[in-house]
Symmetry: C2
Subunit: 207 residues, 2 copies
């Protein structure tokens, strides 16, 4: 069945419609938008995506997305190399960077231990983290893993290894608690329970 007057148009709509969360209507809207843009703009748009897929590499230190051997965070002299934040994937790096609060460096595990999904210790960048700790002078490992059984298991596994092999390194974890601006009654029980157990000095909450 011929749905479009142009196969080129149909093709572009179908390709854009393959993006996650982009339905058919949105795909049509985005396609017609691109069609109306100046040719140079569309060229810049598609080139940026081609560049992304073909020229991006991963930092050999922290496994974060990088333009070269070493990522912009690891090669930035103003970042505190004595603190390493351990995260599940690059999305978490982006989220933490957006807060503008963290000044240390990262280590991207590329997942968390998950027996159900068949992800074991060997599939993650855990060995390279321990190797980093041997070479670099690290004071604190800051675990920012997901608040799931898998995340907690992974954090526990890593912290146990660090405590055994590098007893001087402090291991911290991201605070779990009631979201800023959230009502207590809208917070789930487990989070609320943790927030009570891990309550902090009143004044520190305003820092």
């Amino acid at each position: 069945m011929q749905k479009y007057s142009s196969k080129i148009l149909e093709n572009a709509i179908n390709q854009i419609g393959k993006l996650p969360g982009i339905g058919h209507r949105t795909a049509v809207r985005l396609t017609l938008f691109l069609l109306k843009q100046p040719k140079e703009e569309v060229k810049i748009f598609t080139e940026s995506i081609d560049m992304l897929r073909n020229n991006i590499s991963f930092c050999h230190i922290c496994h974060n997305i990088s333009d070269g051997e070493e990522c912009e965070i690891c090669s930035n002299p103003s970042r505190d190399k004595s603190m390493i934040c351990v995260v599940q994937d690059i999305r978490d790096v982006l989220a933490i960077e957006n807060t503008n609060v963290y000044k240390g460096v990262y280590h991207v595990l590329n997942g968390v231990i998950s027996p159900i999904e068949g992800i074991g210790v060997a599939d993650l960048n855990i060995d390279s983290l321990l190797q980093r700790l041997e070479k670099e002078s690290v004071a604190e490992i800051f675990m920012a893993l997901p608040a799931t059984t898998e995340g907690d298991t992974t954090a526990y596994y890593i912290s146990k290894h660090i405590k055994t092999r590098f007893p001087r390194i402090k291991v911290t974890a991201i605070a779990r608690g009631v979201s800023v601006g959230n009502e207590l009654e809208n917070t789930d029980e487990i989070t609320l329970a943790r927030s009570i157990v891990h309550r902090v000095e009143f004044e520190s909450t305003f820092k």
Copy 2:
């Protein structure tokens, strides 16, 4: 301020974030999705957009989007050439085609008369419509213009010209009325008023 570990990544996120209705979070999500896709898939994706912008043309008969001189609708022998549907833009062609109900051909005006926006008769494909009527054997002109003052004005202008120069051609307009599945109380007054004035034979509503 350095927000990303990679300028290539940052660039792609910014470019995708320029699309209408795509916020920053969605741009990040789509960018990371594209990064995880096989290289060939991403190549097909960007090529389809480059093709769209560089190789698409407009049908010289109906001004619809086309891969060549004549669009797939105008060149399709099974479409009824004696009926021309007049629409504002290509988006409307797509919407009507999606219904699978219309078997005639189209004429894309590329806008409607709008003194406020400075769009006059000369800016629209009205002359080429009248020229088509001289050459082709057309029985019906079906106005499917927006239900706005501008749309109505444009439809009135065109129908007046057709009635004067081609009195044998029947001019029809798309029905305005209560949306299928809509409650009467949720329908705006003007639409409801029109639906009462233009009420139809009861049995025809089930066709």
